[in-house]
């Protein structure tokens, strides 16, 4: 799955709980009123955490409470289950009226005619003027807008500040090099001793790889939907992590394999086996909820030793709302989105405590007032990138990130050399790109 990195499966919170809550969480008043409601909206989607699930359900309930003629049926679950369900429903011509989408889903489903272009609703009633540019670009496919961004995420390194304090090792400045990253990881491993690794293995992450490639003036995906690099670049990327494995800076394959699922509670940083985790910003709140050690958030390296470092990070929407091409209730769905994104009451219910960073400047400002420490830290980080944003990433090609993850594993377990793995990656990826 394209952005597996961002999608933790809710095993820890319990995917089943999530699914169950989507039904159980419906206030009784809704069903009681269902009989008189003239408009019925099926709202389906994925959530990253129990918190986000609750806030999403709450905001939809609040909207329905103000509109007696509207009944909203929420169907939210974890990402993988959602993707499977959406595929069969959409193929059967039964797509939900209102649905969550990330870049992968939007690319795939807009191409297949499942999603409605939303340009007619912009700027009235939905004004996207102060939305982060990257979130809009990512949702624009062939010149048409297919989703209203619910959030704004960015690549990052999340680190355990306690480990740095304990060992007396300082994390270098935000603008740093891949060599410094490796050195820091090795130093941390050496200082903490056996069984501890400075950083988690990030070789499976195409977003981190994108940063690595951008440091060399390339990128992972091109705007045309192809690959923007050569096998030799991938050899360097896989080699970077293999070297860290050999020096003890990152975990060996069998340790990392336990942590590469979508379950944040199994990551080495949470288990106390590692200090740095390459992850997207939308997992920060979820990770922090799992540990008492304060977590920091840091840029990935922006280049290599001897280069002049330039900022390569960008923001994009990890979660947007799209509308079915077939629904007759598009106007109502648009009004629900307007309530969630721009009505002060909606913003407060939907975003506060949910772990989502609003894509709009208004939304972020509203959240910053009275925000918790964690909320503000992520907001600061996202704002820092927005101040000096690099060109946004291009849409992903479905299935390719899974190939990268497998090839990184093949190298980690010594089954393939970096050269063989790079070649096999290109062989397999070509069949996905067509």
């Amino acid at each position: 799955m394209g952005t597996r990195l961002t999608r933790r499966r809710l095993v820890q919170a319990g995917g089943a709980t999530a699914a169950g809550l989507s039904v159980a969480g419906v206030p009784a008043a809704w069903s009681a009123r269902a009989a008189q409601a003239s408009v019925r909206i099926r709202a389906a989607g994925f959530v990253e955490s129990q918190e986000q699930l609750q806030h999403t359900i709450d905001v939809l309930a609040a909207y329905a409470a103000q509109h007696p003629d509207v009944e909203i049926v929420p169907e939210f679950t974890d990402y993988d289950s959602y993707v499977d369900k959406l595929a069969t429903e959409a193929a059967g011509g039964n797509a939900p009226d209102m649905m969550s989408a990330n870049g992968d889903i939007m690319g795939e489903y807009s191409r297949r005619g499942v999603l409605r272009p939303l340009d007619e609703y912009v700027p009235d009633p939905i004004d996207l003027a102060d939305y982060a540019e990257g979130t809009i670009i990512g949702n624009t496919i062939d010149g048409q807008l297919f989703g209203i961004p619910n959030d704004c995420i960015a690549p990052s390194l999340i680190y355990d500040t306690t480990v740095f304090e304990e060992t007396g090792i300082e994390i270098p400045d935000q603008m740093w090099t891949w060599e410094q990253y490796a050195q820091t990881a090795n130093d941390l491993s050496a200082a903490k001793g056996e069984g501890f690794y400075g950083t988690e293995d990030g070789g499976n992450s195409y977003i981190a790889c994108d940063m690595f490639l951008r440091g060399q003036g390339k990128e992972f995906y091109t705007a045309e939907g192809g690959l923007g690099f050569e096998p030799a670049d991938l050899v360097a990327w896989l080699g970077f992590w293999q070297a860290l494995r050999e020096s003890g800076g990152c975990p060996p394959g069998d340790v990392q394999a336990l942590a590469t699922g979508d379950d944040l509670s199994r990551t080495n940083i949470i288990l106390g086996n590692a200090a740095i985790l390459p992850q997207l910003t939308d997992t920060y709140v979820g990770l922090q909820a799992l540990t008492e050690n304060p977590l920091g958030i840091h840029l990935l390296p922006n280049g290599f030793e001897g280069d002049e470092l330039t900022q390569h990070h960008y923001t994009y929407a990890g979660n947007s709302t799209s509308i079915s091409a077939q629904t007759e209730q598009a106007a109502t769905v648009v009004d629900i989105i307007r309530y969630m994104h721009t009505d002060p009451e909606g913003i407060e219910i939907f975003y506060r405590g949910s772990g989502l960073v609003p894509a709009s400047a208004t939304g972020r400002a509203g959240l910053r007032d009275e925000g918790s420490e964690g909320e503000v830290r992520v907001l600061d980080y996202v704002d820092m990138i927005l101040d000096d944003s690099s060109t946004p990433r291009n849409p992903a090609v479905a299935g390719v990130s899974a190939i990268l993850r497998r090839m990184n594993e093949e190298v980690a377990f010594g089954r393939l050399s970096t050269e063989e793995a790079a070649q096999q990656f290109f062989d397999e990826a070509e069949s996905r790109i067509s």
Binding site: A87, A90, R112, G253, D254, F413
Partner: protein, 335 residues
């Protein structure tokens, strides 16, 4: 006791008397001679109609939910079908691609064959062993039988697979026990060298169904045979090899067939233990797991359909081989 019949329907009768009813049915088929065809057909239509009316629920289920989708899937296997766009005719290209241009498919085949070859014999041996123990006239046999059957009831569930993941993880139960005797165990489920074997162990642990059937078979073996053998001076081993095993072969064959077919289609355990990826490094990429990934993650429904049909062919072929071999080692004859 009713257990003697558990699950062995479909096998030729093991006792002479049970064949008799079939002969008794024969006279009914003879139609009265000399009557007109019209009478015959009207009468038979009326009779059959009632039968078909009662069969409707099953017929609808069979045609609409089984045969129809199967035929549709065969058609789709000959096309490029990406779920949303209309299928495009390809002929046998999908089948050719499977065997000539898909390394992961060959990997999935290897993983699945390994799994079948390891898990089925081990599971049957284990089931037979426990059945022999339980067949020694223990007190509270019913309780033991239920307890040993329990894992099979739970076996297909996601919860068990999650538990398995915990038991075999790096700091799991297995390694804690090994640590007591000074062995540092590997990370079973995340090391490609061991990952598949933990799934084989999970399958073997679910030995309940074949065990109950073995137990039923063991109870059918007449005690006189053992007594006679004892008089002739046969030892325990010799009784087992010359009486128990030969008379149990129809049951062994039945269990072998059912378990083999099930093993080819194993999915849940690998899906849950590997987090849906077939990892680490494709070490647990079961056939059905890869099929699911191609169909539902990559939307290659035509290709996935072709895979499903090849799996059907593989299972049919394996069953045919088993039936052919059965002539040489399965004894249906009675003493």
């Amino acid at each position: 006791m009713s257990q003697t019949g558990v699950g062995v329907e479909g096998l030729p009768p093991a006792r002479p008397g049970e064949g008799a009813p079939r002969r008794a049915l024969a006279p009914l088929r003879r139609e009265p001679a000399g009557r007109g065809r019209a009478w015959l057909s009207r009468r038979s239509v009326q009779q059959n109609l009632a039968g078909y009316v009662f069969l409707i629920p099953w017929l609808v289920g069979f045609f609409a939910l089984t045969l129809g989708p199967m035929l549709a899937s065969f058609y789709l296997s000959l096309t490029d079908f990406e779920l949303f766009t209309p299928p495009e005719w390809l002929g046998f290209d999908n089948y050719v691609r499977l065997f000539t241009d898909d390394r992961r498919y060959l990997r999935a085949l290897r993983v699945t064959f390994t799994y079948v070859l390891l898990s089925v014999p081990l599971k049957l041996a284990f089931a037979l062993g426990i059945a022999l123990l339980l067949n020694r006239g223990l007190r509270g046999l019913g309780l033991y039988r239920s307890v040993y059957y329990l894992p099979s009831l739970l076996g297909g569930s996601v919860a068990i697979a999650i538990m398995w993941r915990q038991v075999f993880s790096r700091e799991g139960l297995v390694n804690q026990i090994l640590a007591l005797v000074g062995i540092e165990g590997p990370s079973w489920i995340s090391d490609p060298s061991y990952a598949l074997s933990t799934l084989v162990a999970l399958a073997v642990w679910q030995f309940g169904a074949p065990m109950v059937i073995f137990l039923a078979g063991l109870k059918q073996i007449p005690q006189e045979l053992y007594d006679a053998a004892a008089v002739d001076g046969a030892g325990k081993l010799s009784k087992f090899a010359r009486i128990t095993v030969p008379l149990l072969t129809p049951i062994i064959f039945f269990n072998l067939l059912m378990q083999m077919i099930g093993a080819y289609q194993a999915f849940t355990s690998a899906f849950v233990v590997s987090g849906g990826s077939g990892g680490p490094a494709d070490a647990t990429l079961f056939y059905t797991l890869y099929l699911y990934e191609e169909g539902f993650t990559n939307f290659e429904m035509g290709y996935a359909s072709a895979m499903a049909w090849v799996l059907l062919a593989i299972i049919a072929l394996s069953s045919a081989v088993a039936f052919l071999s059965a002539r040489h080692w399965v004894h249906y004859s009675d003493v």
